[in-house]
Symmetry: C2
Subunit: 274 residues, 2 copies
């Protein structure tokens, strides 16, 4: 999926919502546990319910791997089920020497039909560039994450200059690719960083997790994060997928997604970003 | 597997060799491609051939994921096949917010019976500590890696002090666990760092990839890395597993592992480390 195609979808749906597909068997509605593939049935219902309101979906591989090869099968089926006109993000947080990153690129971009993958920057350029060998695919690099541990290293000042590690990561890595094949993960709980980040990356898309269960404020994120090409994907996982329970859980899931989409549509209209 | 059990194996086998199980279908001997699970058959032959010479095995998840859920099954079968008295390392380079890292810990330590997993430090403490909830399991944290990209961020000076990022990663993270549940990845191509690292971590085990195909020098690594509790695991992947071809490939694989083990036995004897 190209940058323009993504922006078109954002305008069409008046939404920059990404739905995090993090299925936890202990939280899935009980009636689905009797099916042959509860994880896939759950995801299918979530996708059907949220498709009018979302432009991207982001399965987190951790929740599939914890179920073994059967979980990996559910992941494959989920990607296959997602329609072609949404951005399919593997939240995998991979990154290895070039020889191995090439295998990860094959796994997520060839074997499975993901459009994008989250990558950790710690191992540097040759751990990232193998993913660029695929056209119209995206690396979404961790920059400033939403968890408490993000302060341990990401905010360290580097190189005797007044630059933080995550700023250096952004500045350096943005030369490896372009706004057409790179996005960055910026935690919604760290809104104050968005101003600095937009100065470094005026045109890139940012993927913002941490709205909802992790406590981020959507309005603030929009104010500092949106740009005239869209520029934002806001992810909600637990706040949407566990919004309901029982046989009609998908109704509450749809409502939760719709509510976020309405907030986004209002922001778009009021701020006249495009 | 505990630290003492690992050290006992090192003394018994006079070896601190880790065999990297990175099966690439394009390099596996042709006759195995006709079997139902070529990756597992290849691994089984490698394990049988190298078991007298190795104390640890390290499948890199990238090479299994690139084969989809079938590859993940091969990984599960490989871990099951490995005997209990070797250290089973998932070279997975994971790391996510606590909620997700918990799922990865379940995937590798409960669903599969790995003893250890490699983790990227970028997301900080809460991305690492969920793995410590399992007893006698290990986090092997990336510190100073063997690839060219390691220079991009790991060597940056941090916090206006004369400390590099990887040194800070080591110093800070070593307080999260102990020498009993943490090891560190130090690339063999960066031997000059071993002196500094041993000063920070006199007693921890270090996992050293990059000997062989990546060009690291084993003798130098031993000189600066070994300590009186063993303290080193030296990994070789491509140098061992692709040492042979044809139906008798395992003979050459055994020879390659034996040669490295002999070098290690000599170092142990000459240097009288224990």
């Amino acid at each position: 999926m190209t940058r323009l195609q993504l922006f078109d979808k954002i305008k069409e749906k008046e939404s920059f919502l990404c739905v995090g597909l993090d299925p936890d068997l202990s939280r899935i509605p009980a009636h689905l546990l009797e099916t042959e593939d509860p994880v896939f049935e759950f995801n299918k219902a979530i996708i059907d319910a949220t498709l009018p309101y979302a432009v991207a979906y982001k399965p987190n591989t951790a929740f599939y791997e914890s179920l073994g090869s059967k979980g990996w099968e559910s992941l494959e089926k989920t990607v296959d089920y997602l329609p072609g006109n949404v951005l399919k993000i593997a939240d995998a947080k991979r990154g290895d020497i070039g020889n191995s990153s090439k295998q990860y690129a094959d796994a997520f971009f060839k074997r499975m039909n993901f459009d994008a993958i989250t990558i950790s920057p710690y191992m540097g350029e040759d751990s990232v560039t193998p993913f660029f060998e695929y056209d119209n695919k995206w690396v979404i690099l961790l920059a400033s994450t939403s968890n408490a541990g993000s302060l341990d290293f990401q905010d360290l000042m580097v190189d005797h200059k007044s630059e933080k590690l995550y700023e250096r990561v952004i500045r350096k890595s943005s030369t490896w690719g372009s706004k057409k094949n790179m996005m960055y993960v910026i935690g919604a709980t760290r809104v104050e960083t968005l101003v600095t980040i937009r100065a470094l990356l005026p045109e890139h898309f940012l993927l913002i997790p941490g709205v909802g269960a992790q406590g981020g404020d959507m309005e603030l994120v929009c104010r500092y994060g949106l740009n005239k090409h869209g520029g934002l994907l806001i992810n909600s996982s637990r706040g949407i997928i566990y919004a309901g329970d029982g046989e009609n859980f998908a109704d509450d899931v749809a409502s939760a997604a719709k509510k976020l989409q309405h907030q986004m549509a209002e922001v778009i209209m009021n701020q006249k970003y495009w």
